[in-house]
């Protein structure tokens, strides 16, 4: 148990430290890298509580996809770091206010947390009918696709709409660009493209 405790404190400390560094790092690329490290430590914490599915999904989705795009954008920005720092004192009160409000909300939510009375509070929550322990992937699937099916579908639809919106915003057709039409290329026959002409000497073909 002691090793788990030590690991917990390592992951927790590094995650919090990374969180601080994300905000305080001078170079935005370094900020993103610290963010990625923070994600990793969060995944480590998930593994410690036995939620290996969530840990892997966190790494795949956030580190493998979202953070890559983050990094992608941040790297290409041309940022003047000094200018970025200049408004720090000016924005401090607003930032502090937002932080305080979020903190108060978190305290309210966690303080008023109540586990559903139908669920036993201690460990053996995830057992199948025969009393066999379920893997947490399966347990999550069971709950997500039966009890919370609607919520799940609605969340998916919202994401789909957001995606379509982003595509519509950036889509533009330029008429002056020649595009490759692979189906047209593949559908071509020899007769349409090549003509063998017997050219008489000195006359030339048309």
């Amino acid at each position: 148990m002691i090793v788990q405790a030590i690991l917990f404190y390592i992951f927790g400390t590094v995650a919090v430290a990374c969180g601080v560094l994300v905000v305080s790092a001078r170079n935005p690329v370094h900020s993103v890298l610290f963010l990625i490290l923070a994600f990793f430590n969060a995944a480590g914490l998930f593994i410690l509580i036995g939620a290996e599915f969530l840990a892997m999904i966190l790494v795949i989705v956030y580190v493998g996809a979202v953070a890559v795009l983050f990094l992608f954008v941040v790297m290409m920005l041309d940022i003047d770091f000094l200018q970025l720092r200049s408004g720090f004192v000016q924005y401090l009160p607003i930032g502090a206010l937002v932080g305080l409000i979020l903190l108060a909300e978190l305290i309210l939510v966690i303080g008023g947390w109540a586990v559903s009375p139908s669920v036993p509070t201690q460990a053996p929550v995830l057992t199948a009918a025969g009393g066999v322990a379920l893997s947490n992937t399966r347990a999550l699937g069971d709950i997500l696709y039966t009890r919370y099916l609607f919520g799940f579908q609605v969340a998916g639809l919202i994401l789909l709409v957001a995606m379509i919106g982003a595509i519509v915003l950036t889509l533009r057709h330029r008429a002056d660009v020649r595009r490759q039409s692979i189906s047209a290329q593949l559908a071509r026959r020899r007769a349409e493209t090549v003509e063998v002409v017997k050219v008489p000497l000195g006359a030339g073909s048309d």
Partner: protein, 337 residues
């Protein structure tokens, strides 16, 4: 204190020994793969390939390694030192850590975790960091262009790989790699899921940045892409990482589609050969296909690459996923566990 020894210390020591048992042959295999690549390419082009160092040139990879070892490591003056050195380390480490979950025989695996396939997917999706960080930290136009190409390419093909994995999961009914292999005892998934097998193979080429999808390197346009500025051991780590990833992807292909350690037919002469040998043979076959493709096809243009990933593979794998789910449900073949 007895608890400490039996609970923590010995498992750690045993795991460390297992890691060595896996990693040393793996490094040897990487070295031999570089040799095999040059030989296969040479024979495809009616040349002899390396044949001077050692018998049949077999010691060529070690000569190359030694050469890289004694060269000078150059860090460009405008480069971000820490990130510049960390990037190849990331690439190489990721190519090795994924082997923790690969099963070589029933029960012969370093970590038999429940979410093995997700772990593999996570590790392979991290591979892009080594490249993108290298490109950024080099502070060079060519390297940066290579990194951008590579990031877009890997993110695109991951989507198709994800759908292929989900299809395999549906048929196997488990995220555990050992159980996935066991599920193929009657028929290898390569046969009922042939189109997905092909998509997975091609996406694996793109994911590892191999020809014909080696645009991140594209030596004709951007000299060598993300590792232009690297020399000596830092370059060697990239090189080893790339070949390690090839072997890893081949192992994934074998586990997911070619029945891992299972013999092709469950009858006498085939079952005499031990499982790990079958596994190695299958990996070698897929690797040969990697090299064969490189010797055969010209490089894609970047827009063709993107088109293939997003407009062909993604819709097709999505369709095949829905089809598989439908057939499994309609026929009542869904694996029960």
């Amino acid at each position: 204190m007895a608890n400490f020894w039996t609970g923590y210390a010995w498992p750690t020591v045993i795991t460390a020994i297992e890691v060595v048992i896996v990693v040393v042959p793996l490094l040897l295999a990487i070295a031999m793969l570089t040799y095999a690549e040059r030989k296969v390419l040479a024979f495809s082009q009616l040349r002899k390939g390396p044949n001077v160092v050692g018998p049949f040139g077999l010691l060529q990879p070690f000569a190359d390694g030694l050469k890289l070892l004694v060269k000078e490591t150059i860090v460009p003056s405008g480069a971000n030192r820490v990130v510049f050195v960390v990037a190849p380390l990331i690439t190489f480490t990721l190519a090795l850590v994924a082997w923790a979950v690969i099963p070589f025989d029933p029960g012969v695996v370093i970590a038999n975790i429940n979410v093995g396939i997700l772990y593999l997917f996570a590790i392979s999706s991290l591979g892009v960091y080594g490249i993108i960080l290298a490109g950024w930290a080099s502070n060079s136009r060519y390297a940066f262009l290579g990194a951008l190409r590579s990031a877009a390419q890997m993110v695109s093909y991951e989507v198709a790989i994800g759908f292929v994995l989900v299809t395999v999961l549906l048929c196997a009914g488990s995220l555990n790699l050992t159980e996935i292999v066991e599920a193929q005892r009657h028929i290898w998934f390569a046969i009922p899921l042939l189109p997905m097998f092909v998509i997975f193979f091609i996406s694996a080429l793109a994911e590892t940045g191999r020809a014909p999808f080696d645009l991140p390197e594209g030596e004709t346009e951007i000299v060598a892409g993300y590792f232009v500025e690297y020399s000596s051991m830092t370059f060697a780590l990239f090189y080893l990482g790339e070949y390690g990833n090839m072997i890893l992807m081949s192992a994934m292909t074998s586990v997911l589609f070619l029945g891992g350690w299972l013999a092709p037919f469950g009858v006498a002469p085939f079952t005499w050969v031990p499982g790990p040998i079958w596994f190695a043979l299958k990996i070698a076959f897929v690797l040969f296909c990697f090299l064969w493709v490189r010797a055969t096809f010209p490089r894609f243009r970047y827009d063709q690459l993107m088109r293939l990933g997003w407009k062909v593979f993604l819709p097709f794998s999505l369709l095949w996923l829905v089809l598989t789910a439908g057939v499994l449900t309609a026929a009542g073949w869904l694996p029960q566990r």
